[in-house]
């Protein structure tokens, strides 16, 4: 995996994680990974493991918080939820992403 590619992926992955947590509420790592796979309709091939460094990064920035809880199968698991800062950041990041996507789209259209 080249570094440039993973960087781009990282940015998108972070936003996907935030959006998932916003939609689903507190969720453990496996839940976040499954949800992303489902929403993307399996178009995205994701190593589920990569979700954890992303979660750590968001937690270090204070956008996400975590606590230990019990899963639906009675397994002890770490649950992640959005922090107050995280909720505010989602709006910013969404706008940001849309601007980039729109710009990209314009470029692609022009190329055609």
């Amino acid at each position: 995996m080249g570094e440039n590619k993973s960087d781009v992926l990282q940015g998108t992955l972070d936003l996907m994680v935030l959006k998932t947590l916003e939609a689903m509420g507190p969720l453990h790592g496996y839940g976040v990974a499954r949800r992303i796979e489902q929403v993307s309709g399996d178009a995205l091939s994701l190593n589920q493991g990569t979700i954890y460094p992303a979660l750590l990064r968001l937690e270090q920035r204070g956008w996400v918080k975590s606590e230990w809880g019990t899963s639906e199968t009675n397994r002890r698991a770490k649950f992640y939820s959005l922090s107050r800062i995280g909720r505010k950041k989602i709006e910013e990041e969404t706008e940001n992403w849309e601007r980039i996507a729109a710009t990209m789209a314009r470029f692609l259209a022009q190329a055609n």
């Binding site: 453990h28 496996y30 750590l56 990064r57 270090q60 397994r75 990041e93």
Partner: protein
Amino acid sequence: MSSSPMDSLRSLASRCVSLFRRRRLDADLDEELLAHIDLATAENINKGMLLAEARNAALRAFGGVTQTRENYCERRGFPLLQHLVRDLRFALRQLHKSPGFAFAAVLTLALGIGANTAIFSVMNAVLLRTLPVHDPRQLFYLTHENMPDKTGSTGDSRYSSGINIYNRLREDQSVVSDIIAYIPLSLTKTAVRFGDLPEEARTDEVSGNFFSALGVPMAAGLPFASADEVNHSSVAVISFSYWTARFNRDPGVVGKTIFVRGVPFTILGVAAPHFYGVESDGSATDLWIPLQTRPELPAWGIPDATGRTIYNAPNWWAMMLMVRLKPGTTAKQGASHLSPIYSHASYETAGQPNPGSPPLELQLVPARGLGTSSKDYDAPLHVLMGMVVLVLVIACVNIVMLLAARNSVREREFAVRLALGAGRGSLFRQLLAESLILVTAGVALGWLFAIEATRLLAQWSKLEISLTPDSAVLAFTLLVSALVALLLGLAPLRTATSVPVGLTLKSSSSTQSTAGRSHAYSSRVLITMQMALCCVLLFASGLLVRTLLNYRQTDLGMHADSVLAFGAHPLGSPAYSTKVAFYRLLLERLRSLPGVRSATMAELRPGTGWSDNNNLTIDGRVYPWEHGKNMLRSNSVARDFFHTLGIPILAGRDILDSDTKSASRVTVINQTLADRYFGRVDPIGHYLGDAKQRARIVGIVRDSKYTSTDEEKMPMSWYSYQQSDSISDMDIELETTANPISLLPAVQHIVKEIDPGIPLGSPQVLSSGFEETYLMPALVARLALFFGGLAALLVAIGLYGTLAYRVNRRTVEIGVRLALGAQRAQLQWMVLRDSLFLVTVGIAVGLPLAWLASRWLASMMYRLSVHDPFSYAAAVGGVTVVSIAAAVIPAHRAASVDPMRALRTE
């Protein structure tokens, strides 16, 4: 995804916290990842998979668990820091595996760095360092060559000036902002008393601007003011080190009274730390008072019955002067402006010089290092420096060889690690960590060594100025060590990565690659070079040690070992008769002391460097000075002087008690004076001195040493102390039957009984005074011996390593030879021959080098040629012994190779 500075800050904080909770967080991560797999497995089972299949699918979907964990951990803490710690740990483990190597490398570095730092620090203090005062670059000592006719001086005549010069220079302030004057209150130390106990302290009387012009702040109290000089105030400033040693830094001493030669002075202030006065010979001043006119406090402690003071006797040059040039004025400009004023002021009082007299030449000597005394230390320190550098080169070569040998052995290790996928970067980091550890340990140990070595050097050389390892020197050493660490780290990597991995792995340990062969060759070249340098060092230390032995074996012409000498100087300015009575009583009592064979005294204690020098006049005929060729030395002594010191009287008699002021003046002369100026005529009955001071020669004694051990033979005369115009402060000499020092308590008791206010002046065995006159050669010889020994040891270690390595590499060859019928003695000879070949080449290169180096040693030789054959022989013998000693163990090992085992290992 953009992150704000706040986000980064929060990340940083969280990373820092995680550093301290690593174990706990690791456990959390493991559990979280396990939970993930469990949850995924459970879902897969729900979908209808079997357990094993479900688990495999879960793991597949997850990706690499270990990789995830590593990525995660790198995000969490500070990966670079953690790598560094890991590398250092690994390096420590590696070094721990070869403790001999680590020990040798660290010790070599420490000795090299320590010796270098110590010598550099002393050199810096003696030659380069400026006085710890404000803007020292503008400060200069006023010195001169050729004193005008009709002037006399006390102290180092080059530094001495008269009062008229001081006054005239102060009138003209166009290039000079301050003129500073200082005069010692005695030839050595002055009697002071604080409370009841009398003691001695180095005391100077100084101009009122002394502290303000130098720019020395006060640690406590106040400095002198100009008015203190005008009024000759009874105030004193003490040095910080005296304050520390004598008063334990009690701030309460300011305002208290201290008695200087019995005269009360009020302590006004304490000078700043590290200010040891301005004496140009490296001695530290303890106490300063303003310039005085009292008869109890004569300049240099020399009493004068005529009421002479520095103020009323302008032709007595006893003051030492310093100038602070105005900013922007160079020494040259200063000297050319001051020179005419200086000469005019001198001739104003001394009269115009006789035609043909050499002109007075003013010189400005920078107040740096030890002033002109620096010259005495110049050659020895440079020679020591040179020796240190040679030792350092030998040490560094040793380390390089040690490392190279170690790395050639580790070639296989590196190859294996590279083959297993280790990055070159990480190999480099680990090698760097290893050399970093070695160098850091070496520097730390070397610094400790430097502190101790500097202290010992200061002690041995009797320099009273502050001598501590210099931080600039340390910084330099650190820089060099950092570079060395980098180079040592890089060097093995080059060989490790340039040799194809496959080749190294394929070759066995006994048939090494080409790198091993070229290593063997270059190490032989290096060893030979080391031998040559060692040869030079041993030769130099041979010369210096032989010089020291010559000093030691010099016949002083007296039995100085059994003579106790000490000063006893009555306080105040007692009248002639009082002083004679004091000394008569003292000598009387001392003579009756058990263990004292005889007692005498002298104005100038032999072996202290002081002498009274005048023009020689015989029977009214004045001999021209001619740069001191016709100089006559003299001393004032009491009865039994020659008998007490053990100087044989060749003709006539000793000085007697009956040689009083009322009797006609008499003198005793030495053999040299008799031989040189009387020839076959019997000198007894002839007269020395001009009409006023005429003295009849009554005795001739054998030559002896007067001021120092290495002085040339010169004319000398002794007078009866009672026949001087005024009685000087005398030093007592006692010939003792037992250890002279053991008499000290009894002597102290007697002096105290006569006058409780008098301290015993610098008591010592007379011979130790003479020993102090060759302190520097003794110090240099000891250090040279140490450096020579160190070099020999280092060379032996290096040679041993090389020979052992070669025997190791040739184990198979040796085995084959043995199997084919070679004798074990032949094999021993093979190793020894190898070593002897190296030493022969080393000597062949070293001896010419030694011959070249001898040039720099010439000025330090005493009664020894720099081409001393014994020293050459010692150098050759020394390195030969080293080469044989280093070969013994490898030779033995070669002889004890088991042929079967050697062949089987292949």
